[in-house]
């Protein structure tokens, strides 16, 4: 598929897009706090691949390469034009939802906000490992850092999330332990 893309085969590239666009888009969305420019950034990463497919020598390195390029583009875009975190705090019209749904949406908004508040490298590490299900080794490769460094970023990221979501996760823990008991 990569070889076909290198030969300017649009059909093969379309297949590659259908396979990797979603994870790239999700990661960029998380890094850019749900900003409307997410699509532009994800698109730019794929355009870079199309323009210069020779940068990737092995097909198995493709996802990691796309993630790295897209995350760098997202970070660059954020540094040039910082975005607030309002974009992801989507709470539906309270008249249309029940109390439980409203509470669920409020938790979602708080979790989104806590992730958005993380420093960019911690956010990227948490996104790659927790949301994209990558191993520490793969995430370290995407971020071009050592496994120890990503473990450190994850530890700090989790600590920050625990602090900002203290009420929520403690409640969840109590709930889980009472179910177990």
């Amino acid at each position: 598929m990569l070889l076909a893309s290198a030969r300017r085969d649009a059909a093969a590239f379309a297949e590659l897009v259908s396979r990797y666009y979603k994870p790239v888009y999700r990661m960029v969305w998380r890094m850019m706090n749900g900003n409307a420019e997410t699509e532009d950034v994800a698109q730019e990463a794929f355009v870079k691949l199309w323009q210069n497919p020779a940068q990737i020598r092995e097909a198995k390195a493709l996802k990691g390469w796309l993630m790295r390029v897209a995350s760098n583009l997202a970070i660059d875009r954020l540094r040039r034009k910082p975005h607030g975190i309002d974009a992801i705090a989507e709470v539906a019209d309270p008249r249309q939802v029940t109390g439980a749904e409203l509470e669920e949406q409020a938790v979602t908004a708080r979790v989104n906000q806590a992730i958005a508040s993380l420093p960019e490298r911690q956010k990227l590490a948490v996104t790659l490992v927790y949301f994209e299900g990558m191993s520490n080794i793969s995430a370290a490769s995407v971020m071009d850092i050592s496994v120890e460094a990503i473990e450190s970023l994850l530890t700090r990221g989790k600590r920050a999330l625990r602090e900002s979501l203290a009420e929520d996760w403690r409640g969840l823990l109590d709930e889980l332990s009472s179910k177990a008991g």
Binding site: A14, T38, F46, N52, V107, V111, Y130, K158, L165, S177
Partner: protein, 116 residues
């Protein structure tokens, strides 16, 4: 003192993170990407080699041969000496010596004391 251990807290946090928004890809995003790709070219990271214009052999050889011929011609004529500095032309080849030195005349000055 925390009543939950690290593993429990990690598990709870992971569960909580699952409640984060799962962003949906906007409709038509992939099609827009394919359109964008068709509008841009593809480039190679190999810079095309531009060969230098090849010089004809005779364009170098001809002036060199002419300079050599002129040098030989002028060197064979004594008239050219007039154009050269004196340090080059004056007495360079004068090796004639009317009184050949044998070294015997100088021996006395090297001897210690009086030899007479």
């Amino acid at each position: 003192m925390e009543k939950y251990d690290e593993t429990q807290m990690d598990a709870a946090l992971a569960k909580l993170l699952k409640r984060a928004t799962d962003p949906a890809v906007p409709e038509g995003a992939e099609a827009r990407l394919m359109l964008a790709i068709q509008s841009v070219g593809q480039q190679s990271n190999v810079v095309p080699f531009q060969p230098r214009p090849k010089m004809q052999g005779w364009t170098i050889g001809l002036p060199l041969a002419a300079a050599l011929a002129l040098g030989i011609y002028l060197g064979s004529k004594d008239t050219f000496d007039a154009y050269l500095p004196e340090a080059i032309t004056d007495g360079v080849a004068d090796m004639s010596d009317s009184m050949p030195s044998t070294g015997l005349d100088d021996a006395e000055s090297y001897a210690e004391g009086d030899v007479t």
